[in-house]
Amino acid sequence: MSAANPAQYRNVDALRTGLSRRKMLDQVFVLIGLIVMLGCLVILAILFIDLVRDGAPRFTLDFFTSFASRHAERAGILAAWVGTTLVMIVTACCAVPVGVAAAIYLEEYAPKNWFTAIIEINVTNLAGVPSIVYGLLALGLFVYQFDLGQSIVAAGLTLALLILPIVIVATREAIRSVPNSIREAAYGLGATRWEVTKDHVLPYSTGGVLTGMILGLSRAIGETAPIITIGALSFIAFLPESPFKSEFPFISFSWLNDPFTVMPIQMFNWVSRPDQAFQSNAAAAGAILLGMTLLMNGVAIWIRYRFRKKINW
């Protein structure tokens, strides 16, 4: 059409203003998106700075080598970090083999039927169960039915169940990304299913398995509610029995049954005290806990990146 019609000129003008208005809205949204995102990151930074600033006076060697105490300035996290380490060892030893095995079964072995579907639905649902419910399960089952008491092994098993879905999902993703041509080549040379899995699929999935394990443990290390529910003590002034002995057989497992406390519980205990002096203890413990979690997540991201770069199918 020719542009002679004045009515059409008006339309073009209207179109133009409409367009520029819509483009401006576009820019406004980009701005809003950026602000919201930066806002979240800034809050994360404030949280971290807050903890470090409040806890700064407590970052001394004594803090790591003293037990809890009624005097804020003499209290430390010795029992807590030892307890956390031991509980994490139990958790990793249970959750990783079981989780990896379950993932291998679901990806490599399971036939497509209702039975497999039930397992898959269960794994998905377990990931959504509130963590405190795992605590109730552990209280009823581990502490009283199995008579494990309020021990390191009960806590380790509880957290292992809690992170099992994380390990399974991460491992499955890693296994799924191994191309089928590799499996087919191995089968073609006469390997059995287990040989294919153990010699080819698993080595290629190591990165994913490690990532899943670290992410799972970083979740477990900060979990407080389930451990409180099984009745962990928050005031412990002794260490579990040492796993290393001077006489034969040099290794002892009696620490598994010892009472314990962990970092998040120690922090919770200090936070809930009205005395202001304990708040800086809580902040210091929180900063250490947060630092450990962030470090573990960072390592997981790094591993994922490294393995993704190294493997070229």
């Binding site: 998106g33 079981v98 095995a101 099992l164 947060l290």
Partner: protein
């Protein structure tokens, strides 16, 4: 070629051994897979078993209609309503934060952000979800509450508002990452069709991508709700632990989860009514989560767009 090909590894007995080993391995792998099923069964069994002893002492009518929850007092009342009210209030506050923020971030990352921004921001956002909840509790109590008190001098030291806000912040990454995945699953040709009609990126995002990804967004919100309902330490630390039948977020109150923590901190004998009451509370918590999931699932089904 005169070499024998009958190498020991291929003998019949070796083959049999390998097959037997394969079957044994498969059995163990299946057993590991079944752990997930047994965990679910055990959770249901324990909650129902301990709650049934609780309901031997307390009638269901009292449990659902009584407006006081004081199982540990001499004058014991067993009305779950105050705890449910606390749970719903903190959840609503959390969602008011997480849904707008999470969706905005998801739209931005999926439709607007350049590739390298997305790849850098996503892992950092996920760190927000990785912070231990007890640390968030400390943050709510010592930073957020004093900050809110600047604007609301009447605000008590323990309140559901700051707990809810912090929970909302905590679940932003869950909401944003699931929503973003859903939006990126919307096929490209739909966007291209929209651009071809002269729509801007924002019009495409809001009128094509978001409706197309609605079922995935609903799933993200449901995930957020489940997290908020089950969140424990933030409310236990920052909202106070007094059961309080109110929907006013400025007041202190206990949630279902906070009550379980409070009882567990004490030294209740195994088998007492207080001990059983935490399992009844846990059962209610599971039922609330289940209801939200069922509603969400049917919503998702109803609005699912097939491409």
């Amino acid at each position: 070629m005169s070499q024998s090909i009958a190498r020991p590894g291929l003998s019949r007995s070796a083959l049999r051994y390998r097959k037997a080993r394969d079957r044994t391995v498969e059995f163990f792998l299946l057993a590991a897979g079944l752990v997930a099923v047994f965990t679910t069964l055990a959770i249901v069994a324990i909650l129902v078993y301990e709650s049934s002893s609780f309901f031997d002492h307390v009638s269901l009518k009292d449990f659902l209609t009584d407006t006081m929850w004081t199982p540990l007092f001499a004058d014991a009342h067993y009305g779950i309503l105050p705890l449910v009210a606390g749970t719903l209030t903190t959840t609503i506050v959390a969602l008011l934060v997480a849904v707008p923020l999470g969706t905005t971030i998801a739209i931005y990352l999926s439709e607007f952000a350049p590739h390298h921004v997305r790849e850098t921001v996503k892992p950092i956002l996920e760190l927000l979800g990785a912070v231990p909840t007890v640390v968030y509790g400390y943050f709510a109590l010592t930073t957020v509450t004093p900050f809110l008190q600047i604007f609301m001098p009447e605000l008590p030291g323990f309140n559901m508002l700051s707990a809810g806000l912090v929970i909302g912040l905590m679940i932003v990454p869950y909401v944003s990452s699931v929503s973003e995945d859903a939006m990126r699953a919307v096929p490209r040709y739909m966007r291209e069709g929209s651009y071809a009609m002269g729509a801007t990126r924002m019009q495409t995002a809001l009128r094509v991508v978001v409706p197309g990804a609605f079922s995935g967004l609903a799933a993200a919100f449901i995930l957020g709700i489940s997290r908020a309902v089950g969140e424990t330490m933030v409310v236990a630390i920052a909202a106070g632990m007094q059961p309080n039948l109110t929907f006013d977020p400025r007041e202190p109150a206990a949630t279902i989860t906070a009550y379980i923590v409070q009882v567990s901190l004490g030294d209740l004998p195994h088998g007492s009514i207080g001990y059983q009451s935490i399992f009844a509370a846990g059962l209610v918590l599971m039922l609330i989560t289940l209801i939200f999931n069922v509603v969400g699932f049917s919503l998702t089904r109803r609005f699912r767009e097939a491409y």
